[in-house]
């Protein structure tokens, strides 16, 4: 049972009600922290019994609305099942206890797995080489654009100051370009959901460093003119960056390397079996074409007659450098390796097959149930966009109202209000893991909510009713962010 109000752990705290057996003991002598940096008073950590701590965190975990408990069709996020076997095998003591500073000859087993993972990712993306080291999608993006920059700099091509980004792009794309010192130029989308090629032709030029693309795009459609786009950008001297956010849709079917991309990042924590959305750890390996190979982030696994070893600055003198202390998030990479082995070559293709089949089944069924699609003429990829613009006008209900009411029906809400170019939209991504029965349940729930909207819109406006918290005031939360527990308040001062 869920309790409505769970007090904070600090509110359970009573002086001296503390289990000291778990407390690590250190003395000033055992640390080398300068005296001036040591705190003078004890931190106010919660003092609770083990029982209180267990109950508190178990209760919190029960409040989770998660992929382990509910259908979670969050568009552009690929909330799919993470096979437990991947985690169990990646947690074998031989992998788990390997010290990153252990000599290479003692880590040949682990290194061989990483080498194979590099090879498999090269194969599935069609790129020339892969570096596993970026520790998140954002870091992979950063590494990708940093390599584009390093390439132009190496060619003394310093007038290239702009990165082109379509208006449907993930917000991380312009952010990454800015981080790498580029100005961004927005390219519009045409009425069919493809990039406006005519506008692209006008925008490219001697200032173009590259273009950042997601294909399939966040509109849930495959950009059909990708070869032409690649030609236009390459002709102008720019490079093509592939945002791997939607890789699940094309896994094993189409290769970004064949589309003409020079660099790609992959979100292994979402496409290759690591739970995500909780802030990490992640893995965002980058794949590169021949021309960007010298600039890859290090270390990269190499192989010679003596076995496996790390490629470093010596082997790649033009590298953009290191992105982590050692070699990235080993555990996430191991899970990805095991996931790829479990799937095999045929299974890899079935991921894309079923991800797109499920999305298209859901899209067609919801259209039959009377919902409007943003791009009704297009076949969906792994996700699609439904627009509630008509309902907003006729019944005064918004995409957010539908999203909140879905929680009462036992479904996590799809992505709302993204991409920004479609009004009142839901971006729905069912993933390959879901059964037809689950998808049918979602369709019935959407149809039932539509009936409620027509009968009494207020039902939706008040949702959710069944959750530990009712409708949250997101405006107040954003304007008056309050993350600090006030001891003064607790002490009654």
């Amino acid at each position: 049972m869920l309790d409505k109000q769970t007090p904070l752990i600090f509110e359970h705290s009573r002086p001296s009600r503390v289990n000291t057996t778990h407390t690590q003991r250190t003395t000033a002598k055992t640390t080398n922290i300068p005296a001036g940096l040591l705190r003078k008073s004890k931190p106010r950590l919660p003092e609770v019994s083990e029982m209180d701590a267990v109950r508190h965190y178990t209760r919190l975990s029960q409040k989770n609305f998660s992929i382990d408990t509910q259908f979670y069709p969050l568009g552009s996020c690929t909330m799919k099942h993470n096979p437990r076997a991947c985690n169990s095998l990646a947690s074998l003591p031989g992998y788990l206890n390997r010290h990153p500073l252990a000599p290479v000859k003692h880590g040949q087993g682990f290194l061989s797995c990483m080498w194979d993972l590099q090879e498999m990712l090269k194969d599935v993306t069609g790129m020339t080489a892969v570096s596993l080291t970026p520790m998140a999608g954002a870091q992979g993006e950063f590494a990708g654009v940093a390599m584009i920059r390093a390439y132009h700099d190496a060619n003394n091509d310093t007038d290239r100051t702009e990165i082109l980004v379509p208006d449907a792009a993930h917000g991380t794309n312009p952010a990454t370009a800015t981080m790498c010192g580029y100005a961004t130029k927005e390219i519009p989308t045409d009425a069919n959901g493809d990039i406006d090629v005519e506008a692209l032709k006008v925008a490219v030029g001697p200032h173009t460093a590259g273009i950042m693309l997601t294909n399939p795009s966040t509109l849930g459609v495959f950009d059909r003119r990708i070869k032409e786009i690649a030609g236009i950008v390459h002709e102008a001297g720019g490079l093509l960056y592939y945002d791997g956010a939607n890789l699940n849709a094309i896994l094993g079917k189409v290769k970004p390397g064949d589309m003409g991309f020079d660099v790609i990042h992959m979100n292994l924590h979402k496409t290759f079996s690591t739970p995500h959305g909780g802030g990490g750890p992640g893995a965002g390996p980058v794949g590169v074409s021949e021309r960007l190979k010298p600039f890859m982030p290090i270390p990269v696994v190499g192989k010679n007659d003596d076995g496996y070893y790390w490629l470093t600055e010596k082997d790649l003198p033009q590298t953009i450098g290191r992105l982590s202390t050692y070699m990235g998030n080993a555990g996430v990479l191991m899970r990805a390796y095991i996931y790829a082995l479990l799937l095999g070559r045929e299974g890899m293709v079935r991921v894309a097959d079923y991800a797109t089949l499920n999305a298209n089944y859901l899209m067609v069924s919801l259209a039959k149930a009377g919902f409007d699609m943003a791009l009704p003429e297009r076949r969906a990829t792994h996700e699609f966009i439904l627009t509630l613009k008509r309902q907003a006008k006729e019944q005064g209900v918004t995409a957010m109202d539908f999203a909140k009411r879905l929680l009462d029906y036992g479904f996590h809400a799809p992505t709302t209000y993204f991409p920004l170019i479609v009004p009142e939209c839901l971006l729905i991504e069912p993933t390959e893991s879901e059964s037809k029965e689950t998808l049918d349940g979602f369709i019935e729930a959407m149809a039932a909510i539509q009936k409620e909207a027509e009968k009494d819109a207020e039902t939706l406006k008040g949702a959710p009713y069944s959750q530990p918290m009712r409708r949250l005031d997101d405006v107040k939360a954003a304007r008056e962010l309050d993350l600090r527990y006030s001891f003064e308040q607790k002490d009654g001062k």
């Binding site: 917000g171 209000y417 993204f418 920004l420 009004p423 997101d474 405006v475 304007r479």
Partner: protein, 131 residues
């Protein structure tokens, strides 16, 4: 359909422009724009005395749904910004054409303002976008 005052000029990116008696112009985002964006949570305004060319990004409006750029409708210098919006960004939702103004500019070429859309043309744009 949202309110479109006839005395103002408009841009395709949904800014409004009002010419003041002293030749300066006041700029904000339209009622339609704030409706699309939803409740405002943060507004980043330009620095006074900064210079912008027509079409430059010069401010950012952040709502619960999205963060969007505001573009300079004309070329000129920023002469004042609406400081009150820092504490109460919701003013843009409540009174987009009045107290929700964002900044004032001294235009380099007053003729540029006449090239912007009038209320009728902007109404047409809204009708078009509604399809």
């Amino acid at each position: 359909m949202s309110n479109v005052p006839t005395e103002l000029r408009y841009t395709k990116s949904h800014e409004w422009v009002r010419t003041e008696a002293d030749g300066s112009v006041t700029i904000g985002i339209t009622e339609h724009a704030q409706e699309l964006l939803g409740d405002m949570v943060f507004i980043e305004l330009p620095e006074t005395e900064a210079n912008y060319t027509a079409g430059d990004e010069c401010a950012v409006v952040e709502s619960v749904k999205a963060a969007s750029d505001v573009y300079s409708p004309i070329t000129g210098e920023i002469t004042a910004v609406n400081e009150d919006l820092a504490d109460s960004p919701e003013t843009v939702n409540q009174d987009a054409f009045g107290a929700g103004w964002m900044f004032k500019m001294q235009p380099e070429d007053a003729g540029e303002i006449d090239e912007l859309m009038d209320a009728d043309a902007y109404q047409e744009l809204l009708a078009e976008e509604d399809h």
